[in-house]
């Protein structure tokens, strides 16, 4: 259906795509994998009409195809569902579906034909199994529901090829299953899909064909059945990664550092009680929306806590604001890196030192000890192995996702926390950076920090944790010790013995 032939693209003299050729057949689902910066996004942006190729050509059904804008691509039947959803929160579902081209009542009047719009929306929503009224505002939908609206939007365009960029990052397991079921139906109807994801198990499960990109070139293009997880990973990284998780250096102690006693907040969490020991990596599993991130926010002092007690090294911190909890040794890596983790326009140095600045003063007047600040930045950059080509003064928005996450980690590590709450630390970052994050977690634990690791990836929890808590409906449902580690048990607790949909 679509063919890429010898596509080349460079930005500012850097070759981002080198002689890329591949094809997608009608009804086929092609997985596109590669590390961040491998060129996946650029390739898809060329297909979606956001960027033009420097050389090479694309053919759609045998005809030359060179879109000038996203609009052109849509007209050709190609829909692009971005990782950050393109929905307008203050508009209704129906309006979002037709924002690019509303049905008109009569050709000479500029009015929208609302009846036709609502009717078509209803049928489209039925196709994606979304039982909401067409005039529901987007701001009232959950992340998964919004994803489905995006797909309905693609269907509204009569798309024949849908590009999905990391569609599952913000979905719960149940929502993911729902999405996959719908994707399967679409495939059955003859739609082609291009599926981009770091969740390799999803790619392996869903796709017919997998294309691996590395440094802008295609390194493998074969039917999915020929791949196994470790082969995919080594192709992506270009070297054998024998072990995805770094080895454990030390055992956790029995010394309790964080003691959470019956913490509750009406409507959010209830009866939360657990202890975190020095040097322990405690996993927190559960579906999206089970209350994991909310619990972390309560522990860190960003959200109110109605009942119970939180004790850090034996002292209650329940009534302290976040800033004082930080001073006492709490750290929190949030799940939304861009909105809460970083100041994207600010420099690497400013981001790295943001938390620890009050300790880097020369006098009580707030005077900064500049040489010390610079030295600490240097030290932390080395500690997290930040890309050496970036300058200290460079805005962090220019870094790749993995490097950005390293900056966030550096920011907290500089504070030498006693308890580190990590919320989805490896989301959306590539395999190499992931390994670095794991290594840092191990290092922290070895130095005696208590780590609470929230993750939706069961593999990650099994590989990294000393103990795993499972949350559902705002409460802890299960505590799993290392000798009982078992995927199924975690999922069962998370889903309440319903099993996968």
């Amino acid at each position: 259906m679509i063919e890429f032939a010898h596509i080349e693209k460079s930005f500012f003299g850097v070759n981002v795509l080198k002689d890329v050729s591949l094809a997608v057949k009608p009804g086929q689902t092609v997985g596109l994998v590669g590390e961040n910066g491998a060129g996946k996004s650029t390739l898809m942006n060329i297909l979606g009409g956001n960027v033009r190729a420097d050389a090479g050509e694309m053919r759609l059904d045998g005809q030359p195809y060179a879109p000038d804008s996203p609009r052109d691509a849509e007209r050709a039947g190609i829909a692009f569902i971005h990782q950050e959803l393109n929905l307008f929160s203050t508009l209704s579902i129906a309006e979002n579906l037709f924002i690019g081209g509303f049905p008109r009542s009569r050709s000479w009047l500029p009015f929208i034909n609302r009846r036709q719009m609502l009717q078509r929306t209803r049928s489209l929503l039925a196709e994606v199994n979304l039982p909401h009224a067409p005039d529901t505002l987007i701001e009232r939908l959950s992340a998964g529901e919004r994803q489905l609206v995006e797909i309905a939007k693609a269907l509204a365009l009569d798309a024949r090829l849908i590009i999905l960029d990391e569609p599952t990052t913000s979905l719960t397991a149940r929502e993911t299953e729902r999405l996959f079921a719908i994707l399967a139906r679409l495939r059955a109807r003859g739609l082609s899909l291009i599926y981009i994801s770091h969740s390799l198990d999803h790619v392996l499960r869903l796709c017919d064909q997998i294309v691996v990109l590395r440094d802008g070139a295609v390194v493998a293009n074969e039917p999915a059945v020929r791949f196994a997880m470790d082969r995919l990973v080594s192709l992506m990284v270009g070297r054998e990664i024998t072990q995805l998780f770094p080895p454990r250096a030390a055992r956790p102690t029995k010394e309790v550092v964080l003691d959470v006693r019956d913490v509750a907040q009406p409507g959010i969490v209830r009866g939360i009680a657990f202890q975190l020991c020095r040097g322990e990596v405690l996993g927190l599993s559960g579906l999206m929306g089970a209350g994991r991130s909310e619990l972390a926010r309560i522990l860190f002092g960003l959200d109110p806590c109605a009942a119970g007690d939180i004790r850090l090294e034996g002292e209650s911190i329940r009534h302290l604001p976040a800033s004082e909890r930080i001073e006492r040794g709490l750290a929190f890596l949030t799940e939304d890196r861009r909105a809460e983790g970083l100041c994207p326009e600010a420099s690497i140095a400013d981001n790295v030192t943001l938390v620890a600045l009050p300790r880097l003063l020369r006098s009580w007047l707030g005077w900064l000890d500049r040489p010390r600040v610079a030295a600490e930045v240097r030290r932390m950059r080395e500690a997290v192995k930040l890309t050496p080509t970036a300058r200290d003064g460079q805005p962090v928005k220019t870094l790749s996702g993995g490097n950005q996450q390293k900056v966030v980690l550096a920011k907290w590590l500089l504070q030498e926390p006693k308890v580190f709450l990590l919320d989805e630390p490896t989301r959306g970052i590539d395999v190499g950076a992931r390994y670095e994050v794991y290594r840092l977690i191990r290092q922290l634990a070895a130095r005696g920090t208590g780590v609470l690791l929230i993750s939706s990836e069961v593999e990650e929890l099994l590989g990294m944790c000393d103990r795993i808590l499972v949350m559902r409906g705002g409460a802890i449902r299960d505590t799993i010790e290392p000798h009982e580690f078992d995927r199924e048990r975690i999922l069962r607790a998370a889903l309440h013995h319903g099993g996968l949909a």
């Binding site: 800033s323 970083l342 100041c343 400013d350 030192t353 943001l354 707030g366 900064l368």
Partner: protein
Amino acid sequence: MASLPALRLLKRALLADHLVLWLCLVYSAALAPFTPGFASWGNLQTILAYAMPILVVSVGLTLVLIVGGIDLSVTSIVALASVVGGKVMSADEGWLAGHALAVPAGLLAMLSVSAGLGAINGLAVTACRIPPFIATLTTMMLVSGLAIWLTLSRKIGGLPPGFVRLGQELWLAGMTAGVTTWLAHLALSCTLYGKWLYAIGHNARAASVSGVPVARVTFFTYVVSGWFAGLAAILFTAGLETGNPEMARDNLLDVVGAVVIGGTSLYGGRGRVSGTVFGVLFLALVDNSLNLLGLTFYTITMVKGGAILAAALTDALRNRLLTQE
């Protein structure tokens, strides 16, 4: 394309660190031969005397803009502080008329009233979470109404000579403005407070997660902005020897214009005190030179508009060049 030396020079000029300063110098050099009396000590004094109080207000506003807010009430705070100063110190009608402590008490009253008004802005923005634009727009109306009501429109004269000296002797005013501006510059570039200010301006949520006391710093910044307005009120009031309820009434957009010309972003997180200094200087130069050239004031108004637009255009061009490279 960029091989033409002239073009490359232009490009380098655009990317220069203190573009507005160079603009000021080039502008002065270009106009001096045609403008009678432009390049003279007396005229420099005139320009500085005019620009000094505006500079102080602008510096306060710069801080607020960096933190991602805006303060439209600064000039009305100047007016109210001016009135309060007059009410305390005036030999004609002041509460402390003739008292030995009249001047220090007056200064204290002016500064604390303006800081207090800044605090009200700060509370409205942080505690009540009203968008700064509309919050300070409301206080602008309220405060200027209050200033006029307090005096029933009268100007207050008879200010003590000790106070008036602050405005008459240029070096005193210059020192006051210079020192506070310098302090603001240091606070921004060398202290924790400055770093926090930029961080909040860049991303308030991230700053708050990182333990920055966002509400407190923001509140404090509005207080400082009010305080700077009070300081400017001292210079204005001493300069005109009058407590005046409509002091600086028409200067608000000049102040905002100067800060923006100086390269401070209205989106927060970007800006420098030095830029504001040069922005104020630039507008004052334009105003002064066109006056000397005998142009009518509506022409001057139009040219000022053009200058603001040109400055913004240059800034846009410069950003484009920076991202292209």
